[in-house]
């Protein structure tokens, strides 16, 4: 997976080609237009959350994907950046003179400052030692949040009011949509800067150190300082994400720094795919959608996300982005069409099988956890009695039948994939 991204990078002509600029222009246009399509406040909240997660995941991938550093405690840089911003919001005189859109710079600087301190010793090695240090520091700072009440606010956390800032061209950020555009602006800016970072000498050498640290040393680079630079840059953007979180929710708690949050961003990034710049973006979008949309429907959403993560790790280590990019040869050779039918033959029954499985899981959950006497439940807009045999039969048939069909057509799908993506495949 990494290969393709590296190579496409080197193929770019110096200068700005349309292929490079286009995705950015389209993304910017989409960000401007989205709130006009999804006007509900709840939708805007979801989009804000998505934007924050995207920035955080991209920052995280500067370590994992670009630099080969597996961190188990990256939430602390986002969290501490966010806490600092909450304190700035509460410094009434200073905040009254500060336009809110500038606040993420402070969050970034604080995240970066912490990353400089921690990175100065944690980036000495990569691999297990780095991972363990990140875990230790993560745990340490999460523990501090309960001890250092002045900064972290104890169990209640710290809250503030973003509208006390200096009005920005008359905007006070009372309305959700105003916050959306602030967040979207920082999303574009951060993503662009992180993308450009990967194209700088230090960004390229970070890849080299990831692949072969020893060889990089014999080219004049200290692997430690290369990792340090990536780490600090990543800390900055994590801090920016923290500031945006502070602006959006106006409260930060211990939850923003703990290991669960750190683990979640690892999951998001890996799900999206670490080998491509845009992988974490996909991961963040999918994850946020699953959490919010699925979270409304079922208490078990985390179980499904966990399963999805497992399947990704086991079968698609390139993540969703890798899965998409597997098809780029087919796109280039204009053979995507030949895949539609074979894919549908597997994916449609597969979807039914998944629905069947989900129904079984939900019904078991309902049996075990619904109050006694409550037999009525609703799944996929159908209400039924979970204590009768019919829904169980239907679900089982869906699962077994769908699974059987999907398995039956899987070889055909694999064949057509290979035919569509190999050079000689389309002939004869």
């Amino acid at each position: 997976m990494t290969q393709t991204s590296q190579i496409s990078a080197s193929r770019q002509a110096p200068g700005l080609s349309l292929g490079v600029v286009m995705p950015w222009l389209l993304s910017a246009a989409a960000l401007v237009l989205l709130p006009m399509v999804f006007t509900a406040n709840s939708a805007i909240t979801v989009m804000n959350q998505m934007a924050i997660t995207i920035i955080f995941a991209l920052a995280y991938n500067m370590l994992l994907g670009q630099g080969g550093m597996l961190s188990f405690g990256h939430a602390v840089y986002m969290g501490v950046g966010g806490f600092a911003c909450m304190h700035i919001m509460n410094m009434s005189d200073f905040f009254a003179a500060l336009p809110l859109p500038v606040l993420p710079i402070f969050g970034g600087l604080v995240g970066m400052g912490l990353a400089i301190v921690v990175g100065s010793f944690s980036t000495r090695s990569s691999g297990t030692v780095f991972a363990m240090i990140s875990l230790g520091v993560g745990e340490l700072i999460a523990a501090c949040s309960i001890i250092i009440v002045v900064f972290f606010g104890g169990e209640e956390g710290i809250s503030g009011d973003r509208t006390y800032g200096l009005p920005f061209f008359g905007i006070e950020f009372l309305r959700q949509i105003e916050v959306y555009y602030l967040t979207a602006f920082w999303l574009m800016l951060s993503a662009l800067l992180m993308f450009l970072f990967s194209r700088t000498p230090i960004g390229r050498i970070a890849n080299a150190v990831r692949d072969n640290p020893e060889r990089a040393e014999f080219l004049g680079y200290s692997q430690r300082w290369v990792r340090f630079h990536s780490f600090v840059a990543s800390g900055f953007f994590a801090g920016v994400a923290g500031a945006l979180f502070a602006i959006n929710y106006e409260i930060l708690t211990e939850e923003n720094l703990n290991l669960a949050t750190s683990g979640e961003i690892l999951l998001v990034t890996f799900l999206g795919g670490v080998g491509f710049f845009f992988g974490p973006i996909i991961g963040a979008i999918v994850f946020t959608l699953l959490r919010t949309v699925l979270g409304l429907e079922t208490e078990l959403w985390a179980l499904y996300v966990g399963l999805l993560f497992l399947v990704t790790v086991m079968y698609f280590p390139g993540g969703l982005a890798g899965l998409l990019m597997m098809h780029s040869p087919a796109v280039k050779m204009k053979r995507l069409r030949s895949l539609v039918v074979p894919y549908a033959k597997v994916l449609v029954p597969g979807a039914f099988a998944i629905i069947g499985a989900a129904c079984l899981i939900e019904m078991v959950f309902h049996l075990r956890h619904a109050p006694p006497g409550d037999h009525q439940m609703t799944l996929f807009w159908i209400s039924f009695d979970s204590h009768t045999i019919l829904p169980w039969t239907v679900s089982a048939v869906l699962l077994i039948g769908g699974g059987w069909l999907a398995k039956r057509f899987a070889p055909e799908m694999a064949n057509s994939y290979h035919a569509a993506t190999s050079l000689d495949g389309g002939g004869a």
């Binding site: 990494t2 290969q3 590296q6 190579i7 990078a9 080197s10 193929r11 770019q12 002509a13 110096p14 200068g15 450009l196 970072f197 194209r199 700088t200 000498p201 230090i202 960004g203 390229r204 050498i205 890849n207 080299a208 692949d211 072969n212 020893e214 060889r215 990089a216 040393e217 014999f218 080219l219 004049g220 680079y221 200290s222 692997q223 300082w225 290369v226 630079h229 840059a233």
Partner: protein, 251 residues
């Protein structure tokens, strides 16, 4: 005559066993110096000591008069010494072009820069393409280095080694495992790219050694038993006995 590398009484032990047992060696500026010796004599270990991969147990290594003790590989590289590896050591996931470009970054002054875009630096692109042409890999430019043939990877390894413009080049068995025509090609390449530089080279192929080297040192069992011009070394009875007798029969 000034030496590029001056090695005095160098020793290295792994646990109880002493692998490098008091090596004295001086590589003159601008010469092509070959180190030969039987398998397991400690040639690669000697390289690893010089380049900072291992720390010596005793003795000194000086590069242009500067003591290298305690210096990390990247510091030694910055002093103008570059090496290749016996076992190909490249960036297999990166494109061939990018492999070379990464090797150029430090000495061209880009260092830890995060404010320049590599693709916009024409001098980098041109220099990398020039080296690609030199090592005959232009047609492989955009392929991942890992998919190249063995000989091509060896050529790339040399390209990476010389790209930074170091004036002392150390090659460890550059022609190992190559066919005759590939060997000829690599030898010609080495001759070209080390013009006006100091070359130290470990090599088993006596044809290559006697064709390329100005001077030869023979390392046997962790000790240099002879140093001199190819004729001197060839005529040395100790060398005949310890190594060359068998090695020459093969060629």
């Amino acid at each position: 005559m000034t030496s590029a590398l001056e090695i005095t009484n160098l020793r290295k032990s792994f646990g109880q066993t002493e692998i490098i047992r008091g090596v004295d060696l001086s590589v003159r500026k601008g010469e092509r110096h070959a180190v030969i010796g039987p398998n397991g004599a400690g040639k690669s270990t000697l390289y690893n000591l010089i380049t900072g991969r291992f720390a010596q147990t005793a003795g000194t290594v000086q590069l242009h008069g500067q003591d290298l003790r305690g210096k990390a590989p990247f510091q030694i590289n910055r002093l103008g010494l570059s090496r290749s590896f016996q076992i190909t050591n490249i960036f297999p996931n990166m494109s061939v072009f990018e492999n070379i470009r990464c090797a150029l970054l430090w000495t061209r002054g880009y260092k830890y820069s995060f404010w320049t875009l590599v693709s916009r630096k024409q001098d980098l692109t041109d220099a990398a393409d020039e080296i690609l042409a030199q090592i005959n890999l232009t047609s492989r430019r955009d392929l991942p280095a890992g998919v190249l043939s063995y000989a091509e990877q060896r050529a790339l390894e040399i390209g990476i080694t010389i790209a930074g413009g170091a004036d002392v080049i150390m090659l460890d068995e550059p022609t190992a495992g190559m066919s005759h025509s590939e060997t000829d090609y690599i030898v010609e390449l080495i001759r070209q790219v080390t013009e006006n530089k100091t070359l130290m080279m470990v090599e088993h192929d006596m044809g290559v050694v006697f064709g390329l080297a100005d001077r030869i040192s023979v390392l046997v069992y962790g000790e240099i038993i002879a140093t001199g011009t190819p004729e001197e070394v060839r005529g040395n009875p100790r060398v005949q006995e310890a190594y060359l007798g068998t090695a020459m029969e093969d060629h």
